[in-house]
């Protein structure tokens, strides 16, 4: 059991800065997800922790010890690779036992630990087979079993589910989450799939261009994205962003969009007089069948029935929006609908920095190194 600390970690490949002075603290037993698009540096950061990449600046601490110059085998970590990296020339048993064999454990200890790890992953019947004789999903389980059998201080996972088909991925997600909760090991998990991140982590570190943009609980990331990047990356469909300006009016602030205006409510009052970006999620927009005061008119472009709800793509003025509607609502293309934007579900963004604007008026600090 150990905590992990990244202090101003920096990694460059030639001229490309893959990891840009990242600070991150992972408490003992914590499950942190590194989430971001490809090329954002999440895998590189993980590999720096593993010791597979040498950092060009900063320190990596594991369990309080400075591990920056230690080779991987001295760091007391275990890793699950995206391609599983299950040794083809060894049987499943020997694969899972590999780390224990390197630690020179006794034969009966090895047998006991291998079998218990295999049982946790439901592969106890496959111990005598070669990796070429089992399916991809089973190989993935072998990779996980191999990692947990060593009872290391920190568990590293590099997109372990991305090579599985959609259905298997969903099953494994739940299984993996339950298993890791049961084990309680400090885990750092890398993924580009925001559904995976939201569903699994205690905390998510959203990364972009080598920096951590926001570090928060899944709900906070979803509801209060730190900037337009996070809002657009997390959540399906991505957050809607519309150009808006807020005018002070006698009765209260009025939000002017290209497709209409509505009352901003008390939360918008401190922002009067500014031009901002209005961010709102599809499910926070209510579709009203008839025209009222304070509703925005929009023309329907596409209706996608998704079973649990209908996803409407609508055009309002210059803006194109995605709106969640009741599964029984099927407006005709080109017909008009009226949208109510819930003021407390609006996230305001600064058009210049892209960062979130707190209702108190100050721009939230772009979480570059926190």
């Amino acid at each position: 059991m150990a905590d992990v600390r990244f202090e101003a970690v920096r990694k460059t490949f030639g001229k490309v800065v893959a990891v840009d002075d990242v600070d991150l603290e992972v408490a003992d037993g914590d499950f942190v997800v590194l989430l971001g698009p490809s090329g954002c540096g999440k895998t590189t950061l993980l590999r720096c922790l593993a010791g597979l990449e040498k950092v060009d600046g900063g320190r990596v601490l594991i369990g309080g010890r400075d591990a920056t110059d230690l080779p991987p085998r001295r760091r007391r970590i275990a890793m699950v690779f995206q391609s599983y990296a299950v040794f083809p020339h060894l049987k499943v048993f020997k694969n899972i036992a590999f780390g224990l064999k390197m630690q020179k454990e006794r034969k009966d200890t090895i047998r006991e630990r291998v079998e218990s790890a295999a049982r946790l992953l439901h592969i106890e019947d496959l111990l005598d087979r070669y990796p070429s004789q089992i399916s991809g999903g089973q190989r993935q389980r072998v990779a996980v079993a191999r990692a947990i059998a060593t009872k290391s201080d920190v568990l590293l996972m590099d997109e372990p589910l991305s090579n599985l088909d959609a259905l298997l991925r969903m099953e494994m997600r739940a299984e993996l989450k339950a298993l890791l909760r049961q084990l309680g090991t400090t885990t750092i998990y890398v993924t580009h799939d925001q559904v995976e991140a939201l569903s699994m982590g205690d905390r998510i570190a959203v990364m972009n261009a080598g920096r951590i943009v926001q570090l928060d609980s899944p709900l906070a990331i979803y509801d209060h994205p730190a900037d337009m990047f996070v809002g657009g990356f997390v959540g399906a469909p991505p957050m809607n962003f519309l150009a808006a300006d807020i005018a002070a009016d006698g009765a209260g602030p009025v939000v002017n969009l290209s497709g209409g205006s509505f009352a901003g409510g008390p939360s918008a009052a401190p922002l009067a007089g500014r031009k901002l970006i209005l961010g709102i999620r599809a499910e926070s927009i209510v579709v009203e069948p008839e025209h009222h005061e304070g509703l925005i008119e929009a023309k329907v472009v596409v209706v996608e029935p998704l079973g649990s709800h209908n996803l409407l793509t609508v055009k309002s003025g210059d803006d194109v929006l995605k709106v969640s509607a009741s599964p029984r609502l099927f407006p005709e293309p080109d017909s008009s609908v009226w949208l109510r934007l819930e003021p407390n579900r609006i996230r305001w963004m600064d058009p210049e920095t892209g960062g979130a604007v707190e209702p108190a008026g100050a721009v939230a600090e772009s979480v570059g190194g926190r």
Partner: protein, 280 residues
């Protein structure tokens, strides 16, 4: 209702290319196999039959007379033995030196890697002719002319680029992640290499080792320049060529050829792992 004739023509037209492939393929196959059959037959004919005309085309009256004549010829069995030793030495040295280099090229992106790779490929542009002559002079100066050590040195210089390039391609085929996984599980770099990379690379390495043996076994230009009394098999056959009787030539040809053909039969599956990437 379909008209019969066009349907038949169409199926004939579809059938024709395939038939053509078979015909040409069989003709070429006969052209390749014929001489091999013939030389084997000739090598296994008795001493009298060898001079007969017309020649026997079927394997009756096989005898080891011709082979025995060849092997009994003064110096031939020694030459045969020397060829084996030189080829084995070349194999051992070139693999010992070249495999680490191939591994380095496959795994590490270090400065100068491209230069090394390019220079290694470029050595094949230099004919063995231009290498052997100064080597002959140098070896006289060093006192190892007319020795199998000299030939082994020359053959290793010839085989080394091949070993470096093929082992590089073999190791490139073993995912680096496997060694990385081993390192996270407690292996040092060296231990990961021995426990993971080497076992998986072994088939490819074995194939290139066998190929190096054959390269050395076949090599005649340098061998005949660098030896006088201590000849290897090709050099010995070459030096006795001018006055040699027919049966001698047949048996000699067979001995030179048989290991090569056998080797190809055995390792042909690995040829593409070696050539496919090396040549590109």
């Amino acid at each position: 209702m379909r008209d019969r004739a066009p349907h038949l023509l169409r199926s004939l037209a579809g059938w024709l290319p395939k038939a053509l492939v078979y015909v040409v393929g069989i003709v070429v196959s006969l052209w390749v196999l014929g001489p091999l059959y013939v030389i084997t037959l000739a090598a296994f004919s008795s001493e009298q039959d060898v001079y007969d005309y017309p020649k026997q085309l079927l394997p009756k009256d096989l005898s080891t007379g011709t082979m025995r004549f060849f092997l009994d010829f003064p110096g031939m069995t020694d030459a045969l033995w020397r060829s084996v030793i030189v080829a084995a030495a070349t194999l051992a040295i070139s693999l010992a030196i070249g495999t680490p280099a191939g591994y380095a090229l496959a795994r590490f992106a270090f400065r100068g890697a491209d230069t090394v790779r390019l220079s290694v490929v470029a050595t094949r542009a230099f004919p063995i002719v231009i290498l052997s002559i100064p080597l002959a002079v140098i070896f006289i100066r060093w006192g190892i002319d007319d020795s199998i050590q000299g030939v082994a040195i020359a053959h290793t210089a010839l085989a080394l680029p091949f070993v470096v390039l093929t082992t590089a391609s073999v190791f490139a085929g073993v995912p680096a992640e496997l060694e990385e996984a081993a390192m996270t599980l407690g292996c040092s770099r060296a231990s990961a290499f021995v426990r993971v990379a080497l076992p998986l690379a072994l088939p490819g390495l074995a194939a290139s080792a066998i190929f190096v043996f054959i390269i050395s076994w076949n090599e005649v230009f340098a061998a005949s320049l660098l030896t006088l009394q201590n000849r290897t098999l090709p050099a010995a056959v070459l030096s006795t060529l001018e006055g040699a009787p027919l049966n001698f030539r047949f048996a000699g040809g067979f001995f030179l050829l048989a290991p090569s053909v056998l080797v190809i039969l055995v390792i042909r599956r690995y040829l593409f792992t070696m050539w496919g990437r090396v040549v590109r």
